[in-house]
Symmetry: C2
Subunit: 347 residues, 2 copies
């Protein structure tokens, strides 16, 4: 039997190219001989936007759809007005490929610095809804630009959309040793959406009697993330709350240099996309200063998603070993870290 992976690679802007190169290096090193890797690189991002005015066309989407998965570096550049690439590329892709499970694990590996005092034990996963909530672009303005302007943002929430992501989160919680799932929302203020999330969380929960559940308002959740992060196992939450708490979660778990994420379509109808949580960091681009670890861990999530669990575990073990040594080593370049991780996974 021969196997192959067709991978779309989107280096993007800033440090994107540098970290993706190392991610691919580690991927090539970890794959078994019998798995053939085919990659195709796409030139999306600021450069293409300036050259053609395009961010992501129907033709682009049709081509991307043919791949098994997508690896993204980072998209975004100060030369492009805020929102254009975010909405025109990142969010457009999430919506077009129905990436409703935005998966963001937070794990504080031994030896890694955290802004928190003591030695907190951090090992949880946030399942962020990826296609609804305040991210749909609904809303608008009247009397635009005047003293009488009114602007609205409409958060859209459907039973259909919530149920599938809540179900995914229960399944992930059930597969983990602690089997605990926390719903994060603000159901005392956002009562319409809050009641719907709460109802579905409880209904689906009846099918997972072995999963312990609790509920936190998003404001209280930020407190616990810094005072008691060990209380979390799996968190399921709305698109915007998930955006906010996963940046905080990354900050307390060693920083965005090691935070990986997956934009997943569990049905497989569209390819899923894996990317570091960090942005394009134009200030350090081209200097081989960026930490490729978050991208390498995103490759592990990608392998997990494609059913190559043993290879994913080897990458995680390599990262863990490398991070444990880092404090004792002089600072290394992006390439040197990638080389070290590639060497570990192939040995």
């Amino acid at each position: 039997m021969s196997r192959s992976i067709s991978l779309a690679v989107i280096p993007g802007d800033g440090i994107g190219q540098e970290v993706v190169t190392e991610g691919l290096k580690v991927l090539a090193a970890v794959l078994p001989q019998d798995v053939k890797l085919e990659t195709r690189t796409y030139d999306f991002g600021a450069r293409r936007y300036h050259a053609t005015g395009q961010t992501l066309t129907d033709e682009d989407l049709a081509q991307l759809k043919g791949h098994d998965a997508i690896l993204l570096g980072a998209i975004g550049d100060p030369s492009v007005p805020s929102g254009v690439l975010e909405r025109g590329f990142l969010l457009k892709l999430r919506f077009a490929f129905d990436h409703h499970v935005n998966l963001r694990p937070s794990r504080l590996f031994p030896g890694v610095a955290t802004p928190l005092s003591g030695s907190p034990e951090i090992d949880f996963v946030v399942v962020r809804e990826g296609t609804e909530g305040p991210y749909t672009g609904n809303g608008g303005t009247i009397r635009t630009g005047t003293e009488q302007e009114v602007a609205t943002e409409v958060s859209l929430n459907t039973a259909y959309g919530i149920e599938r992501v809540v179900r995914d989160a229960y399944a992930r919680a059930q597969a983990r040793p602690r089997k605990k799932l926390t719903l994060v929302h603000k159901n005392n203020v956002l009562v319409h959406a809050g009641r719907l999330w709460t109802r579905i969380f409880e209904e689906v929960g009846a099918e997972y009697p072995d999963v312990t559940t609790d509920y936190l308002h998003v404001d209280a959740a930020t407190i616990f993330l810094v005072t008691q992060p060990e209380r979390f196992d799996v968190i399921v939450t709305d698109n915007l709350f998930g955006d906010i708490i996963t940046d905080l979660a990354a900050a307390v778990s060693g920083g965005i240099g090691v935070a990986a994420s997956g934009n997943i379509n569990p049905s497989g109808a569209f390819p899923s996309m894996f990317e570091p949580v960090h942005g394009s960091a134009p200030d350090i681009a081209g200097q081989s200063k960026a930490d490729p670890t978050a991208t390498v861990l995103s490759v592990a999530l990608l392998l997990q998603h494609l059913g190559l669990a043993a290879e994913a575990a080897r990458i995680e073990a390599a990262v863990q070993a490398d991070l444990a040594e880092r404090a004792t080593l002089p600072a290394r370049s992006t390439v040197a870290i990638g080389d070290a991780l590639a060497a570990r996974v192939s040995s």
Copy 2:
């Protein structure tokens, strides 16, 4: 000349009564002889809701309106369904009295424990908009309770509402030594409201050329709050983002035991309300375990608002001195902490 303060006191639920008693004790101790304090206590909260079904009536509002200011302990009890008292009392009062400046200072006093490592310098103020955004209750559901339910939440943002709170924040920034104002929003995703906030932030800024400004997305702001809290001086933000980041800010600045807040109507058309950020903590109610410091600091904000700046400063100095000693003392009761603070401000 004789002066007097007419104060509405709302002890509320749980630990509310205990902390308000100490707040009033310190207030009585700090006031100059020639200032007459008249208080009237209102029995709002869970007890009244169970007895009468009422949270806050038009008649209540008319009576409250006659006071110079309001001191609130805490509202909320597990016996009342989530949202009823929050929406029916707390938010109703903020909206009825047009409390558009929700003021939440964060200061890490010397000697106070923080979950952050190192010795971060934390001294900033969040000016949270209090009457708009996703808090207006707009939105609804269709096909409620079914598999086809759709729920919306509508965030309402007006140039009028944003301009007045942004202007207040600029004035506060200008009055502080560092003169720095940070706008926190998510203008790359919530583009309709985001553009409006950004435009007004820039327009009003032209009138405050000596105030340095910057912008952060709310997700990035949570990272800086734990990795670089010293970068903040004054923050101005939307109602929901302000709710989230002020709980996080309280957590890193010594916890909600010391976090004070004001719901301010700067025009004076309605009385402003001052309250600790913490909730009613029913688990420790009636045990004299609650820390009244947040309430006492809220009294300082109240005095500041009423033009008694010297008295406000004396309370802050007393709190600072007391907190510096706490680590060396055995745990004290709510009453003992209140007594100690009252003794300090009157000496």
